[in-house]
């Protein structure tokens, strides 16, 4: 029975990866009861993790998977194309989605009115649909469509925050995000005009024949700006701090670990697979530009983070800095540098999602994420605060944590490229991370809580479990790197090797 089923659907896993969250989202709307909708979403999310793991295993053992939707042959039909690069990103996105979902019911219980919970789960799954679709599709226009699905649902999720600032932040993100989406559409339109195809592989072949001309350059610029906005690369990051600060706590944890990561994947895909590296980075000073912006982001994000009173906002600015690292890794355009950028997608997703889940625990019990709420938290909520400390260490890049692995590859990449000042700057910016993490740790362990403070209980088990899965992940993948760095470096070899 199971064999028969597997024979039918075994080859259709790429399509199910996108179709199942979409369909379960509608089931959530129909069942309506919050806990039932949550159960449906959980079933789907963990199924998606299994699905993504099988796909990654298949790509690793048998090579790139190509799946045509509706039986229309490539390059006319829509192709789902999974190689090492997006299989890894897909696994990150689905895992984060599933782990965060464990913590969702307790966390949104006091942030979102109960009658809206089923819609929350539906929107959450729609966002997952869009992100998974962007990751595995092999069609340029399809990327735009899924980008819009994920963006629209993330605006809706952000606007559910408790304060009215959530609404204005969502609108701000909507305006910036729509601008970004429009630029991406413009870029894709120009590429379609020049190549007559929307299939990414076919497009790359046509562009290689075509060579450089002005339309292709403008398309590249449009795509760069558009994806840059979605990725929140400095100085296009202005939507990010507000959106992360005022969104419901679990939404921040989810989006911080997935939305920008998928945008980074799209940037890598266009830069290395579609335009080919020599065109993107060498011919147009694109590499120098990206490196400058990345380094500026590393420092600007970290410096601003040091002066934040709201810890959620501090971590949001820290995300801007971490995106800087990824962009620097891309701009180095050698094997170690790109590995560093890609492995940082994995590592930063795990770390930052864990840290934002810690804040979800804190906001649940203390009703605030201001620095003052952390006073004495090391004794009042020991498990939660220990998770913050470990996540913070990973953000700084201490050995045995995942942060160290990423920075190791980035520094190696910078040295390979003969740019030792860049390596020094990467290490210097880690010191800034040390400062902003230490501020919180100091308050948490060495400041007494106010005299009249009420007793606070430790965070609920479901939230602690998902927090510690991720924080445990920062340690596990800091030591055992075959999954993260192994796949990332193979993907980097594939991307770099495709050129020379």
């Amino acid at each position: 029975m199971i064999d028969a089923l597997w024979n039918l659907i075994g080859d259709d896993l790429p399509a199910l990866q996108i179709a199942m969250p979409l369909l379960t989202a509608t089931v959530c709307v129909i069942v309506r009861r919050p806990m039932l909708a949550w159960a449906v979403a959980m079933f789907n999310a963990w199924g998606a993790v299994v699905n993504a793991s099988i796909l990654l295993y298949r790509v690793w053992t048998r090579g790139t998977i190509s799946y045509v939707e509706g039986g229309w042959p490539v390059p006319w039909g829509i192709e789902l194309r999974i190689d090492l690069l997006n299989a890894l990103v897909l696994l990150v996105v689905t895992s984060i989605c599933a782990v965060v979902l464990v913590a969702v019911p307790r966390s949104i219980a006091n942030e979102i009115p109960r009658e809206k919970h089923y819609l929350f789960y539906a929107t959450y799954l729609l966002c997952m649909t869009g992100l998974a679709g962007m990751t595995i599709t092999g069609d340029a226009f399809n990327i735009f469509v899924f980008l819009e699905i994920s963006s629209l649902s993330s605006y809706a999720l952000i606007s559910q925050g408790r304060t009215s600032r959530a609404l204005t932040s969502a609108i701000q993100y909507l305006i910036m995000g729509t601008l970004g989406g429009t630029f991406i559409l413009l870029g894709i339109g120009m590429l379609y005009m020049m190549t007559g195809t929307l299939n990414l592989v076919d497009m790359a072949d046509q562009l290689a024949l075509l060579g450089v001309n002005r339309t292709v350059l403008v398309a590249m610029a449009c795509l760069g700006v558009g994806i840059g906005i979605k990725l929140a690369v400095f100085p296009l990051h202005t939507w990010l701090p507000n959106a992360y600060t005022y969104a419901p706590a679990v939404v921040t944890a989810f989006l911080a670990a997935t939305a920008t990561k998928v945008a980074y994947y799209v940037l890598v895909r266009f830069a290395f697979s579609v335009f080919r590296i020599n065109l993107t980075l060498d011919g147009t000073h694109g590499g120098a530009l990206l490196m400058t912006l990345g380094i500026a982001g590393m420092f600007a994000g970290s410096l601003v983070a040091i002066f934040q009173d709201n810890i959620k906002r501090m971590l949001a600015y820290s995300s801007v800095a971490q995106i800087g690292y990824m962009v620097v890794g891309l701009s180095l355009a050698n094997e170690h540098g790109l590995t560093g950028g890609l492995v940082h997608v994995f590592n930063h997703a795990v770390t930052k999602c864990g840290l934002f889940l810690v804040l979800a625990c804190v906001v649940l019990r203390m009703n605030s994420t201001r620095l003052s709420a952390f006073a004495g938290l090391g004794r009042r909520m020991p498990f939660t605060f220990a998770a913050f400390v470990l996540g913070g260490l990973s953000l700084i890049g201490v050995p045995l944590t995942v942060g160290f692995v990423s920075k190791w590859y980035l520094v190696l990449g910078a040295l390979d490229a003969g740019l030792w000042p860049v390596a020094v700057l990467i290490l210097l910016s880690s010191v800034l991370a040390l400062i902003y993490i230490w501020r919180v740790v100091e308050v948490g362990y060495f400041t007494a809580p106010p005299e009249d403070a009420d007793e606070v209980a430790e965070a609920p088990l479901s939230m602690l479990v998902s927090t510690w899965i991720l924080i445990g992940g920062t340690l596990v993948f800091g030591v055992w790197t075959s999954l993260s760095a192994g796949v990332a470096s193979a993907a980097a070899r594939m991307l770099i090797g495709g050129v020379s």
Binding site: I9, A15, G71
Partner: protein, 141 residues
């Protein structure tokens, strides 16, 4: 409240025709101009015209928001369900060829059901959006 007698009587004549035309656009979409999206918009326009002339409360009794919500989800579910059915019939996702004994019939059936799903969702979404905006600022909401 002004009675709007003439528009009400006229719309009673028009609304069934509008909805019938929507169904024509829906099911003739395979052969001529039309399809699920256009049909859904026309059907939704019929619902909106009804609520404009007979009031929001009465319109909500005829088209309960909860039912509309199920239609919003149900249309997508129908669309995706056709795709999943194609997988279980041995084809790729949304490959209509395998839906019937003959590929041509399969294509016909597949596009008919998919467009019906689009039509249902679009009509329900149009009505829902209108109800949401028209209902803003009311005390009973």
């Amino acid at each position: 409240m002004i009675s709007h007698l003439i528009p009400r009587v006229l719309s009673k004549l028009l609304i069934p025709l509008i909805m019938l035309f929507a169904l024509y656009v829906q099911f003739h979409g395979d052969y001529g101009p039309g399809g699920g999206f256009q049909a859904g918009v026309i059907f939704g326009a019929g619902i909106i015209l009804y609520s404009l002339l007979f009031g929001l409360d009465q319109a909500k009794e005829v088209f309960p928001p909860r039912v509309l919500e199920i239609f919003v989800a149900g249309g997508v579910l129908l669309y995706g369900g056709v795709g999943i059915a194609a997988i279980f019939a041995g084809g790729n996702f949304l490959d209509y060829d395998v839906l019937a004994h003959d590929p041509h019939h399969g294509q016909h059936l597949g596009i008919l059901l998919v467009e019906l799903g689009v039509g249902i969702t679009v009509a329900a979404v149009m009505a829902t959006i209108f109800f949401q905006f028209a209902g803003r600022g009311r005390t009973d909401d």
